[in-house]
């Protein structure tokens, strides 16, 4: 029984990476912008936080401040990346796919350059314990949950609340569905697009920070981060554009991703080496199936925002 509990908690902890990434991407997509820069943004969010921890990791500041400053630096860096993206796609009306891909190229590259110069003993060893509050030092599986994990759940639920229960969320969804109509009723389309993209990016960046500093907590963690950025974009579809659904979705994804290492420990399931890649393929196959099924059923509330991927120019009509 214990191994299954460990497995569940590990899946949850792993999933928090995607929870941040896809919650951020959902906010952006709800404003009508398909941000393929998320992998780059998550990488830079991680790099930003680690840069700050590199500065203050051994300074003897109170743990609370170290945790807070790391999070703020991460938010700031990924928010800046979001600002680049929204400046290009909203103000300059550039193609969103191309801009996003360029942002990913840039972000992943810059993160690798920055991270390869830093000393992991400073940004990792001390701060990691602070981020694992309140479970730091425990011997059981709970020790891998911490501040950032709980923050991920709070952010996902809060985003859902804002999107679906408040006026701001209603306006935001209107912008993503039909910007021309939203503009006509007096909603400031560009402001909504900017804010949603920057806030979404900032949230996604935390996912990268969490992955490097907390979940993996290793010096090489940053090298594998990009793939999980793409997985976050997949998770948006899986969650049908509802942030609170990412909590379930990311656990499933985390489960599928880490089961290849757990299942080999259980002797009554015979798993060959060749099965591992197939198990890792499952999250993507499941996403494709969800995408197809939701398009076959064609229920309006399960579709991508109607104007997803299109730039808006008021005088274009």
């Amino acid at each position: 029984m214990n191994i299954w509990l460990n497995f569940l908690i590990d899946s949850l902890a792993f999933g928090a990476t995607f929870m941040y990434g896809s919650t951020g991407e959902i906010l952006t997509e709800k404003a009508g912008h398909l941000n393929l820069g998320i992998p780059g943004i998550m990488c830079m969010g991680g790099a930003g936080g680690c840069l700050m921890l590199n500065l203050i990791g051994k300074s003897g500041l109170p743990p609370f401040l170290i945790v807070l400053l790391g999070i703020l630096a991460s938010l700031l860096m990924s928010g800046l990346m979001g600002l680049i993206y929204s400046f290009m796609t909203v103000t300059l009306r550039a193609n969103q796919n191309v801009t996003g891909l360029a942002l990913t190229t840039f972000g992943v590259g810059l993160m690798k350059v920055i991270m390869s110069k830093m000393d992991a003993t400073v940004y990792l060893v001390g701060p990691k314990m602070f981020y694992r509050w309140p479970f730091a030092g425990r011997q059981d599986a709970l020790q891998c949950l911490g501040v950032l994990f709980f923050l991920a759940i709070i952010v996902a639920v809060a985003s859902s609340y804002i999107l679906f229960k408040t006026k701001v969320g209603l306006h935001l969804r209107a912008v993503g569905e039909n910007p021309a109509t939203a503009d006509a009723v007096g909603i400031n389309v560009n402001r909504y697009k900017y804010v949603a993209t920057c806030v979404g990016s900032a949230i996604a960046g935390l996912g990268g920070f969490y992955y490097i500093i907390d979940y993996m907590a290793s010096q090489e963690a940053y090298l594998s981060l990009e793939a999980f950025g793409w997985l976050s974009i997949a998770l948006v579809i899986f969650a049908l554009w509802r942030p609170h659904m990412t909590i379930i979705g990311s656990t499933v994804f985390g489960f599928l991703f880490s089961c290849s290492s757990y299942i080999t420990n259980i002797d009554w399931i015979h798993v060959t080496m060749a099965m591992k890649p197939i198990l890792k393929m499952l999250p993507y196959v499941v996403t494709i199936l969800v995408l197809i099924i939701s398009s076959v059923r064609n229920k309006r509330e399960n579709q991508p925002p109607s104007s997803l991927g299109l730039s808006y120019f008021r005088e274009d009509r």
């Binding site: 290009m88 103000t91 193609n95 796919n97 398009s295």
Partner: protein
């Protein structure tokens, strides 16, 4: 943003679409963007590379390396031509789909399964059939696998209007893990790197290993230029891209066009995969395509989906790549630097399209001064 800062007055900047632009003017705008981008790259290099920070004079070596990386020796130049050809090949494969506004983000996967298909044939049949037959079979396998990978999303798009951007994106990862699955099967010792195949290597023309892929892609460029501009198929693709309703009204079978075009697109990706497998690598890894499938999307878009312009854009990106690789070697910095530099230049090229497509009208002289200030920011 600036047009919203003063809502109750006349806006600071008024935008309008340019009906036409003189080709020289648009070329100058693009050139200015690249120069600006390079300047920003210099700034970033100053921040990231210690040797330049200590001795700012070295910044000229930095810029020099861009030329050195691609043009200093014949071998580097041939390598540059071949890598340009491969990138251009993938971008060409994407172009018919893009002209149809089918946002195929799956070129990476379609090319990768092409590599995988070719290598699979060589792995299982390598010593059983003559080399010439083997090469033909590899080509068929590569094009078939690419086409299959491309047509699955197209079928769903045609039947249920499934979002193709996300679908094709996911197919990339399925392809990646498919490759690692076969690597585990083929390489029993667990190192999962497949040694080079002994059979199924494209012949070197006149002793030059690089020439054949270049010639194939050159031929492809011309063929595709004719296909999209002067054939009935190309016309149908354009009509579907402009408006699906118009296409239906004039009696074009939209579903058929979508499926046919994606078969073509995937098949050409598979062809490039074949060039990589039989002409260069002789093996397959999960990184055989190395992100070029994504870069090709930008190449095609920056080249305005015109095969001839795309020669320029793919060449530019490869100059940047090889130059930046030279820089990481010369200055002993992380191998990730090319991505940073390519990213920065791409931002500027993508951004400058705005100034080509739109005209800015400033409000009076006061507004102009203010706008200049904002422009500096």
């Amino acid at each position: 943003m600036s047009q919203h800062t003063a809502e109750n007055r006349e806006p600071l900047v008024h935008l309008s679409k340019r009906p036409t632009i003189h080709p020289v003017k648009s070329a100058l705008i693009r050139l200015a963007a690249i120069v600006l981008g390079l300047a920003v790259c210099g700034l970033v290099a100053f921040l990231l590379i210690e040797k330049i920070r200590e001795n700012p004079g070295k910044i000229w070596d930095f810029y020099n390396a861009f030329i050195k990386g691609a043009f200093s020796t014949p071998r580097k130049f041939w390598k540059f031509l071949r890598s340009t050809a491969i990138l251009l090949g993938i971008a060409l494969a994407l172009t018919p789909a893009f002209r149809m506004r089918f946002w195929n983000t799956g070129a990476e996967g379609q090319t990768l399964v092409g590599v995988l298909g070719a290598i699979a044939v060589s792995f299982y049949l390598g010593d059983k059939v003559p080399e010439g037959v083997l090469l033909m079979l590899m080509l068929l396998a590569a094009m078939l696998s690419g086409a299959v990978w491309g047509v699955i999303p197209a079928l769903c798009k045609a039947k249920w209007n499934t979002n193709e951007t996300l679908f094709t994106l996911m197919m990339n990862y399925v392809a990646t893990f498919l490759v690692s699955y076969f690597l585990v099967i083929w390489v029993p010792n667990g190192s999962s790197s497949l040694p080079k195949m002994k059979y199924g290597k494209l012949p070197a023309i006149g002793g030059n290993d690089y020439l054949l892929p270049i010639l194939v892609v050159l031929f492809l460029t011309i063929a595709l230029y004719i296909y999209v501009n002067y054939s009935k198929h190309g016309y149908e693709i354009n009509v579907v891209g402009e408006s699906v309703r118009t296409a239906q009204y004039v009696g074009i079978n939209v579903r058929k066009v979508i499926i046919r075009t994606m078969i073509l697109s995937g098949m050409l990706c598979g062809l490039v995969g074949y060039l990589i497998a039989a002409g260069m690598d002789q093996t397959v890894t999960t990184n055989s395509v190395g992100g070029q499938g994504f870069t090709a999307i930008m190449v095609s878009w920056l080249g305005k989906f015109n095969p001839l312009f795309m020669i320029l854009t793919s060449g530019l990106i490869q100059v940047l790549n090889q130059g930046a690789a030279q820089i990481s070697q010369d200055f002993n910095v992380s191998g990730a630097l090319p991505a940073v530099i390519t990213g920065i230049i791409l931002f500027f090229i993508i951004g400058c399209e705005f100034f080509i497509n739109y005209e800015l009208h400033f409000r009076g002289r006061h507004g102009r001064a203010q706008a200049k200030k904002e422009g500096v920011k």
